[in-house]
Every structure is written in C-alpha cells, then in structure tokens.
Symmetry: none
Subunit: 186 residues, 4 copies
C-alpha cells in the first residue's frame, strides 16, 4: 500500500534532514504519490512524524524487553544491552536516529508522543542499568563503582551508538566497547 511508501519516505527524510528540513512535497515525491494523499492517510505532517516516532519507540521498546533475562552474570546483561544497540542501529538506522534526536521545536505534539516515550525509555534503561550494577557489585562480580554515574556513562555511549556513524559500527568497535566496560567493571 502507498501508505507504507509514505512512511518509508518520511522516515528517511525525517532522520536525515530533520523535521523542519523535510517538506511534505519531498515526502510525497519520494513516495511516488501526490501531496494530498499524505492528508488522506494522516492528519498532517505532525502526525506522520509522531506515527513514525511511535513505531520507532515501540520497536525499540520491544527490542529492549526481549533482552535475555536468564543470564547468570550481571555483566552479560550489560554486554547484551550494548550489542543490542549495535544491532538495532544496523537494522533500523533511521528509526534509531529518531529515537535519540531532540524534539523538533515546531512539532505540535498534543499527545506528547515524543516526551512520553522518551522519558519511558530513559527510565527503563536507567533502572535496568542500575539494577545490573547494584547486583553485580553486591555479588562481588563488579568492583565498587559509582552506580549512578556509571549508568549515565553507559547511556551516553549507547546514545552515541544509536546516532550511528556507520564507520563506528564494526566488529572491532563492538568488541572494544564491550571489552572496555568489562575491564572497567570487573
């Protein structure tokens, strides 16, 4: 269906040119449809954006929830989290870049799609990391580290990964990133 064309085209442009830098004409041209069709399937540019954002956040959330929770070691959880993000950005580069992009100042988002999801995932990540770290420290698997700051630092790295500069997403980088945290924590 052409609605999917629209979503694909819009996702591409929103991720690469930003919300303000993307025109409805660019989207419709790329999607091979006329502009009015955008307004048949969506109420406007804003809704196209928030729809895409919702999908992106939803995909991201599903991926996070799918993390293997039966791992024995605390570090395995952190390793899996890091590798997951390297995978995600390879699989959904545009969606993931939207997930970490700032809220477009001109976006009218009355249902708070942006803020709600953003907060939710940050909170999830923070609590996931905090739990891992505390458990690892308690079990003497990890050295004593400042939990809050360490979690913050990991989140900064994750954010940088999601912003994907392709050249950073190599096997060697994945390895080095995981090794770095292993060495630091244990």
């Amino acid at each position: 269906m052409k609605k999917n064309n629209i979503i694909e085209a819009a996702t591409y442009f929103f991720a690469t040119q930003g919300f303000d830098g993307t025109t409805t004409k660019a989207i419709s041209d790329q999607a091979g449809v006329t502009e009015p069709l955008l307004y048949y399937h969506f109420t406007g540019k804003d809704e196209i954006y928030t729809t895409i954002l919702e999908t992106a956040f939803s995909d991201y959330g599903t991926a996070l929830k799918g993390l293997n929770k039966e791992t024995k070691k605390a570090f395995d959880k952190i390793e899996n989290l890091l590798l997951l993000h390297f995978d995600l950005v390879k699989k959904f580069p545009h969606e993931m870049s939207l997930v970490v992009s700032p809220k477009p100042s001109k976006l009218n988002d009355p249902e708070n799609v942006y803020d709600k999801n953003n907060k939710k995932h940050r909170k999830w990540l923070k609590s996931y990391l905090t739990r891992c770290l505390k458990k690892g420290v308690a079990a003497r698997e990890f050295k004593k580290v400042p939990v809050k700051e360490t979690a913050n630092l990991i989140m900064m790295v994750i954010s940088a990964i999601l912003q994907k500069k392709d050249y950073q997403n190599t096997q060697a980088m994945r390895q080095a990133t995981v090794d770095f945290w292993r060495k630091n924590l244990s």
Copy 2:
C-alpha cells in the same frame, strides 16, 4: 554593537532550534533589530550560520591547541582532554552543540566551512588520541589496547559530552569519566 546582538541571538536559536527551525525574523526580534539589518551585516542566513560556525570551531580549536603539552604521563593528556570538553560545554554550550551537530541539509555552504572544520577537528582529535595511546602503550604506562577503537570510543564519549545534557555535567560525572578511562588504560 548590534552585529553582536545578531550573532548571539542566532547562536542561541541555531543551537536550540536548528538551522531549519530558525527564522530570520526570530533572530532579528531576539536581537532587537529589524530583518534587513541582518542583510547589511551578512549576505544571508547561510552566512550568519557559517560565521557562527567558524567562530565556534575556532574557539574549539584554540582550546584544543591550548592543552598542556608538557605533561609527562600519556594519561594526563587524555584526562586533560576529557576535562577540557566538560569545561567547554559549560562555558559555550550553544557553540559546542553546533560543533557536533549534523550539517543542515538546506545550508548552502560553498566554502565548505562546515565540512572543512569538522574534518579538521576530527582528524586532530584522532591523531592526538592515537599518539597518546601509542606513546602510553610503548612506555608501558598503558596496557595493550586496540588503538583505533579506543580512540573512537573516546571520541564518541566526547561527542556525547558536547551535546550536553546538563544533568551529566556534574563533578561526579567528570570524576567518573576520567576514572573509567584511567582504569581501562592502565
């Protein structure tokens, strides 16, 4: 002078709303001048942006070059580099966010102000870090680490720092960041 008002206003808006999300009217209003005055001092919106960008990159470059080069230990150089970025983002939050922001797709930049400076500083950073790491490893100050990937990782963290989320710029975060790299390298 009113030109400075314009630059300050524009810097604020470009950093917070993006190039596409910033209108010339917003700039002139905030600067307390009329729109045509922008065109007296600059050739257009593009030039305002590139001018600001040049200053930002120049300030950044000056700061980088000012790094104390007489330190004995390789790690001190890395520590100084990290702390410098924490300081820079506190001092010039808007400029620094522009330094790490992607190139606006609509920006007409025939002199390649953006790309040239961007490449230059990335190169500088990379070579600075590579040299440090190699020297540290050679002098047995550092353990054996994959130089390229480690440099990359540090640059990712630096990039995340410059994007400044205020809450990450605490004394504890600075300490933790430095400590991690120390532990990791030595």
Copy 3:
C-alpha cells in the same frame, strides 16, 4: 433513500453557511454517506445546489399559485400574501432563505436555474401586487398610492420576512404587519 439525506444535509448547510462555506465533505458527513456518492446522484456540488434551488423555487411557486383568488377585497389578497410568507418561512426556513439569497459567485449555473427562477418569481410578485393595488385603487377600496413604489415596499418586507429572524415570526408581528398595510392602503 440516501439521496434525500444528501439533499436535506446540503439544504441545511447551503442555507446556514452559504454555498462557498459548504464543503462536499460536510454534506456527506451530515448525510451519513461518503463523498463519492454525491457524484453518483449528482454531477457535482453545483448541481446539488441548483437541484435544491429548483425545489425551493418550485415549492415557493406552488404556494404562491395556491393563493385564494376568489377573495372579494383587494386587501384580502395582500393580507393572504403576507401571511403566506410568514407561514412559508416557518415551514421551510432553509428553502426560503435560499430563495432570497444572492447568487453564489462561484456557482456554475449554465441553465440559469438561479436567475430564471429568481426573475420569474419577482415578476410574478410584482404583477400580483400591481394588479391588486390598481384594482383596489380603482374600486376605491384603497386610497391613491404610488403603485410601483408600494409594490416595491411590500416586496422588501416580504424579502425581510423570508430571511427569517425567528424572533420576528410571532403572532403579534404577523398581526402588526398586516395591520400596517391595511392602515396604509385603506
């Protein structure tokens, strides 16, 4: 039948929001159908309007022709005419407001439904009134009055009645209007 729903909905909107202020979507929504169905039953918005107008003019014409012609007194005819209009606007408020509304500038009306009917009824009214007045004057039932101007004035009042402001359509207003003309003429 759904065609009637369409006509009812359109009549309502054309009368209350005007031709230009009425969208085909508003009509189809109100009628509980989809827009393409309008084009199954009519050639387009214009034809919906002219169809409704034809009905309205036809109803109006039928009502006029039904005026009791066997009355003895000339004034009775005028009284009946006035009362008829008070009745009509109560019974068909929307239709009657269309009958006296100006021709929509954007209406494409190649068969001149609007102009033809408008002219026809104005002519009918004028001749009806002129005849009444002349007869009444000749029969000494009426004082000498300027026929043309009196007819005009009555038509102005009739027009104002049809534009119906509900509050003017009371028993007292009907009485007062009739009394006014009785006093004036006799």
Copy 4:
C-alpha cells in the same frame, strides 16, 4: 498607500462575493499588490475582514449618532432615520451591505468584532425607535400602535434598504417609504 488599495479591494469582494467566496489572491490582484503584502499589513484574511467590519460599523455608528436630536416631532426622527439609511447605502454600498450580512461561518473572530458591533447597533436602533414611538404616542402625535412590533417592522425595512438593490433607492422610493410610515403612525 497600498494598504488602502488592499482595504478597498477586499471591501469590494467581501461585500459582493462574501467572505468564503473571496480569495486572498483576488484581493491582492485587484489591489495591484502581491499576496504576502496582505500579511505584512494584516495578520491574515480574518483580520482584513474584521478591520473592514470595524470601520463599517464605526461609520454606521457615527452616522446614527449624528441624527439631529433637536427635532420637535417624533415622526421627524423616524423620517430622518429612514432617509439616513437611504443616504448611507448610496454613499457606502459595500460597507452597509457588510453591516447587515450574516457572520461568515469560517471567520475566526476571537475579539467578537462581528457580534459585539451587531448587537450594539441593533440595540441602539431598537431603543431609538422605541423611545420615538412611545413619545409620539404619549404626545398624541401618533395613534396607538404596538410599539415593539412597529419598531421591529421599521428595522426590517431598514435592513432591506441597507441590502440595497439599487433600483429601490430612488427619490420616489424614499418618498413612498416615509409617506407610508407617516400615514401609518399619525
């Protein structure tokens, strides 16, 4: 100044084609300017309309207030009121037709320019007429007439006059209208 061109052009179109039937392009073409200039002088089509309406109502109000109040006879006041409206519609045909036109359904009028003025002038007229009629009856200048209904009837005629069909605005019509009311009241 070109702002006046815009107002003149817009007044013409709003009065002859209605608010919904008037495009900003039609206005700017007729005014000999480009469309963006409309938005330099006004915030939008709505404000052009309300500005014109305010002027029209203001002119109308000034004219009403200027009615000679030292006339001895009650009927003179009514005669003057009627003649004033014949004059006004000759002098400001477009403005006056706007004064009695219904509120455009699509007009966004947050300051209630339309309703406020409309109500104000109807109230003024009503109280003016009521006072005249009561005084005239009390002074035995007028026969006993139902005050409220008579006032209503006069207002209906005034409204019809303002809607101006040119052919009704002749010396003979003016005379006939006044004569009828004189005959009716005295």
